[in-house]
Symmetry: C2
């Protein structure tokens, strides 16, 4: 039952109707709170007593059906790819060699990786919970394709929030008198799959011992330098990697998710090494890659620098390290590369084709911020959960 | 999957296990927040941005199955009783005559009632959403019976919260390793019935006019003197009662829920006047009444005073007005009655048999308050929703 009119309307009309939007705003916030789209407050992040709603868009973002199912279909290939990469020591070592020279954080992770490898701790179970993020790339000829932005192999979040957002959007669309759109909101429950992955690993671990034995270590953080506040943090990470506990992820799967690995996988011929007898798998993964270009020292890297300086607007310059938020665009690319182009420090970055998404008009709801019509660039993320179990 | 042990335990053991309770506390708060058992915060009651959990007990309170179904079964009789009382002008006038002499708030409500009656506004639809509250009375012989505390005919709340609490308790019981208890938590969705009542009234009202016509006035407050902050509040109440809108409740249904009416209905022979041909209905309602005794001026009231002074611990002295919280017990009953026994002011109160519930040990969760094992006296409430529709 709609609040305001008996006739159904169009989204663009709703977006322009300021009074209607103002009315929907409070209903939307209440719906988010009631459906569990929650986060702790900035003021008291450690209090169990109060919560706010997690930032969300007032309306859902449309994704073409074919691309949505493509993201789901290719996800199992990505699960297998990440797992194979994580078990290929030579590949990881070779790929990350240049990164660890300039990125001390990745270097420390890599040292832990090497140490546990040498100590040969038996790791019979690994659980992977990852999220592959895409943008919809609009080519000048009018076509739309799925382009991977990154794959997160550690602390891939929002599975819980996403599971509860569909009902919030359905409620908002009903109130906004957009029943047709409401029908197109798909059910979404990644939390169930992630939980099944963890439960399966716990079951396989199968200890009957009661008390304080840890079956699974789930990393909610540990992917940014600031997560390691002291030497003790590093010692804790090493201790966990050495333990019998199932890691989600183990250090090799963590490293398999670095941007440098992602870039290496995009190079011609590399995917084929991981799927030698599966050209179809290779093609499906490859189809989601935007061009990635090395900045390693040498001829190929020099070519990348020249390409970026010539057309900076077509590229993104990305730090190799995880965590996001520090991408470099446009003229700033030229500034950074002019400075670093003859230094090995340039290898801390990779260059990537800039994806050309079409902005969608929407309202962003964020605690404490006034509602404002915004041009939004969205990503669509596909979750993957898998458990590797080796018999000894 | 239990957090702490593979073997199922008993609730009394869980209640004593301080470490376990401490662990469950945070899980319980998160579960309440995630399932929508929410309220605004004390600090920012008008902010749409933050919420806290509504106070709740860590574990559900057991209610004997037979009494639970008795409360549901008798509820339809109470719906009909309230509705018949609300339409019996002579009964309301006679019953409330002594109350309005001493209670200026009820007197003002009654004046509005008289005024709209005289003006004869056609009210074809009335929607009633009420909640009948009971305690479990344990008699010395070991029997347990349902005794009505009060019936709320205006702003009967907690239907929404109650609809979402069952899942919270199920989750807590699972985590506390009490799977058998978990199975006994019944589904509970009063919100759906209340919403159906409002929707039905809206449908019957049936206006095709778009825009600002009000179909239903739902009173969230208006039952306490402090809800009427100025003369304008009273004018607004009168305006609403005079309007064509469906009232939930109308002023006569509001008055039908006063404690004085409740007391009058408990007197011998009164229920029979409302259900002359339904001795079974009368018996079922009567069975839930604790003894209620008048303090009106005269012989009967004098007898009540003497009875209360002789055994104050067996009674509760209650103000006639709605809102609760000011009941008088024990020696204080003697103090109040010694003062008022020869004054007509005593008629602002009624005397009631004190119900003897058995306390249940439980933990109360309340934002900002430390968790503490408490002896809890609980009420069980049955919701009723009905729509009266008259053809003219």
């Amino acid at each position: 039952m709609s609040l305001f009119s008996a006739m159904s309307v169009k989204r663009e009309d709703v977006l322009k109707d300021e009074n209607l939007i103002k009315n929907i705003e409070e209903i939307a916030k209440d719906a988010a709170l009631l459906h569990g789209v929650l986060m702790r407050t900035k003021e008291t992040p450690n209090s169990p007593e109060v919560v706010s709603y997690a930032p969300f868009t007032l309306f859902p973002t449309p994704v073409p059906k074919a691309l949505f199912y493509q993201a789901l279909a290719v996800q199992t290939h990505f699960n297998r790819l990440v797992d194979r990469v994580s078990q290929n020591a030579a590949f990881l070592e070779e790929t990350l060699a240049s990164t660890i020279k300039v990125d001390s954080f990745t270097a420390r992770l890599f040292n832990i990786y090497k140490q546990v490898q040498q100590e040969n701790h038996p790791q019979s179970i690994v659980v992977g919970l990852n999220r592959s993020d895409y943008m919809l790339d609009h080519s000048p000829d009018g076509g739309t394709s799925l382009k991977q932005i990154e794959i997160n192999t550690i602390a891939a979040s929002f599975g819980g929030l996403a599971s509860r957002t569909a009902d919030v959007h359905r409620h908002i669309l009903k109130v906004a008198n957009l029943p047709e759109e409401c029908k197109h909101v798909v059910d979404n429950n990644p939390a169930a799959g992630l939980a099944r992955g963890l439960a399966k690993a716990w079951e396989l671990y199968g200890s009957e011992r009661d008390g304080h034995e840890v079956a699974i270590v789930y990393f909610r953080n540990g992917y940014m330098p600031q997560n390691y506040t002291s030497e003790q943090s590093w010692e804790a990470r090493l201790m966990m990697e050495r333990s019998l506990a199932v890691k989600c992820p183990d250090i090799s799967t963590h490293l398999a998710g670095t941007k440098k690995v992602q870039q290496e996988l995009a190079r011609p011929g590399v995917l084929e090494r991981f799927f030698p007898d599966e050209p179809e798998t290779v093609a499906q993964i490859q189809a989601t890659f935007a061009g990635l270009y090395t900045l390693d020292m040498g001829e190929e890297g020099d070519k990348t620098v020249a390409m970026a300086l010539a057309n900076p607007d077509q590229y993104v310059l990305k730090p190799q390290r995880e965590g996001g938020g520090n991408n470099i665009y446009g003229n700033e690319i030229c500034q950074v590369l002019e400075n670093l182009k003859n230094s090995s420090e340039r290898t801390a970055y990779i260059l990537m084709d800039k994806i050309q998404p079409v902005p969608v008009q929407n309202y962003l709801l964020r605690p404490g911020a006034p509602l404002k019509l915004s041009s939004c660039l969205s990503e669509v993320g596909a979750f993957g959960a898998y458990v590797r179990f080796l018999f000894f």
